[in-house]
Point group: C4
Chain length 232, copies 4
């Protein structure tokens, strides 16, 4: 994929955020990476979705040096870059303030694995980070938010847990490319909504047992997956 | 009805799922049956609704042998087939992960019969299944989900209870054809939403008394029904 | 207004129900009355909104004798007729199963007067009826539902309380004509939603004090009202 | 900006209310001010948004004398005027009955500062006023509602807290012009919704610590802000 194709994918992925009702105004950003060239394409900061053009996108290398684009990149860029540097499998990263996922983040609660909907995408409960300390906030707020996400995920293989909650802030999600990352952001918002409702209906609701979690995750993502069509 | 007409009905019924906001991405499937020929038409697995064509639909016999279609059928096909084999009255089956019905399923709670809206369609509370055991999941997950639904419904005449919740998973519904099954899936989602709200407003809310349940169910479905127009 | 104009108003008012998201499928009905001729125009039973035509509407006199129309009238017709016979001020009546108002009805709870939004239309809390007895249901279900509403309203001047909840069933509302009745049905649904949220945020939320209720109701409906434009 | 341009901005801002789902029927109003001429442009009372024309807008001076327009101004005009007279920084004022913000107002609860979404716009929790006394309501209801807002805000710099809840009534918001005021009304409704959900998920949810509140507020509004593009 050349850089122009990547830019088009990242633009489409950004425009998909309002289409899926994940953002109010400019509260979200999507990036994608060209691993061969080591270049990241990301949304400019504070530009509204209905005016965003291909040439507004910002291109940076993995150290954060701006390579293309006249506008300032998303204020969350440093967080995206840490994730790309840490996880070579990642092709796209998304941050939103989608309503229900943000409410779980504000509640500082992991999203329990209440059902197969979540198990089809997330191999367990979706963790919530700790708060950054005053010192961390002062030192490098956005960069250390990236490291906080890495710390929160521990040793989890990154593509088996395609999202996380940053405490008192909101969700980040990712995937094999920008489009997949947005797909996972939509799923994260919907499972957050369902989990809230589940807890309202039954405050003692229990988590999906491991054997069912495993069954659903594997029938979709395992070696012998039989969900969807065989990709050829 | 010939097979082509059935396919058209099943395609329309599948496309009605996103139209009624019952599905995110590809999280749902509708099938219909031609009882004379013993053929079931079902959605292919993991194909998005906005690209689905008539020729993508899969035709199987009641043993699950694929008769037509190049794509793999819905991963929930075995569940549909058990229902068709068990209940000769069924003409259509739907599975979704619609938000509120799934929340009740995740809460492992039957939907109480709180009002006449539910009584107009469901002759009582909408039951929730037990969980499959590890052995059952390993042996034949989708087929035994079908038998689990049959076990959950006990001796209830199938068309008087046109839906059920599978614990920690989501709702299944059915009807006299694919269109009727989708109609009942919409009703199930709406009564699930109302029942959740009812419990929030009054945690001690009581069920509709039997005489009112009976009155509403019968004025719409009984021998002397007077709701709607006489079908001629 | 001649009968044709009334029919057009009633048709428009019925079509406004789905436009305002007050109904699923055919779960609602609007009627209007020509007081001079003593004729009521009402929606036919079980006909979907997107197919409804002017000639499908049913015309009855106040005793329920069908004067025009080939279709069967709404199954709730007898309830509408009792209201028209009891309250000469009424020009239109609406019944829906709108989500939040129905949840309050299912919870068998009056909607408390939590704020000025409700006070602008309803002169106090919106009452919820008792349940009909088995004998009443058997004798004349729909007619006695009308009398139940009258009983629930007590001596309240009918246009100062343009709606009520029928226990375990749903809301009825009314107004000076069919359009005004639908307007009040929209308000009832919205105040039901706000009241549910208010109770969730603060279970000890208190009612609006009388002097504020009075102020808001009177600035909109009183002799010295100054909300809106003077009608000339 | 001449008066015609201001009118166009105020008309657009009023029409943005239904577009952002902040109002039912006519339940909201936006005004803007021309500080040089000391003239306020405001929505007429009780005119529906889909019929509103430029010439329907009402122009008043800061004492409330009507300078232009044949219609009666919004019944909340006196409240707007008090805010403009008190805070020279204000360019636009909005009042709505948006669902979730109104629910917090009806609950008589300030909206806690649960996350960075709120901190990006509001420099702390969003206060809720006391109730006006019977004497105040009788004396000058709308004017004293303006003074009540001023009392509630205490010494807070007005543009660091661009909204407030009036107890048992609903939200008011403001900004540097009419468009900015509507922008803040949208944010207020969304943070009200998120805060309600947060409290449902975790009744012990804690407020954002001061150092994070400060960080987010300053990165967007401070002297060294780096969110968005430098305005040139």
């Amino acid at each position: 994929m050349n850089l122009k194709a990547l830019k088009e994918q990242v633009l489409t992925a950004n425009l998909d955020l309002p289409r899926h009702h994940l953002v109010t105004f400019t509260w979200g950003n999507v990036s994608g990476i060209d691993r061969e060239r080591g270049l990241v394409v990301i949304k400019p900061s504070g530009v509204s979705y209905d005016k965003m053009q291909l040439e507004d996108l910002v291109v940076l290398d993995l150290t954060g040096r701006q390579v293309e684009g006249a506008l300032r990149p998303s204020s969350d860029t440093a967080t995206h870059l840490v994730l790309y540097r840490t996880y070579p499998e990642l092709g796209g990263v998304v941050h939103t303030h989608s309503t229900h996922a943000t409410a779980w983040a504000q509640a500082c609660r992991a999203i329990p694995i209440f059902g197969t909907t979540q198990a089809d995408y997330f191999n367990g409960e979706i963790p919530c980070s700790r708060l950054l300390t005053p010192r961390e906030v002062e030192e490098d707020y956005e960069g250390l938010t990236g490291h906080l996400i890495v710390e929160t995920l521990k040793q989890t293989p990154i593509l088996t847990m395609p999202g996380v909650l940053v405490a008192n802030h909101g969700p980040f999600s990712w995937g094999k490319d920008a489009d997949d990352a947005v797909h996972n952001a939509v799923v994260l918002e919907e499972v957050a909504r369902m989990a809230w409702l589940t807890g309202q209906i039954n405050p003692q609701a229990h988590a999906l047992p491991d054997y069912l979690l495993e069954k659903h995750y594997q029938r979709k993502h395992g070696k012998h997956a039989y969900y969807g069509q065989t990709e050829t």
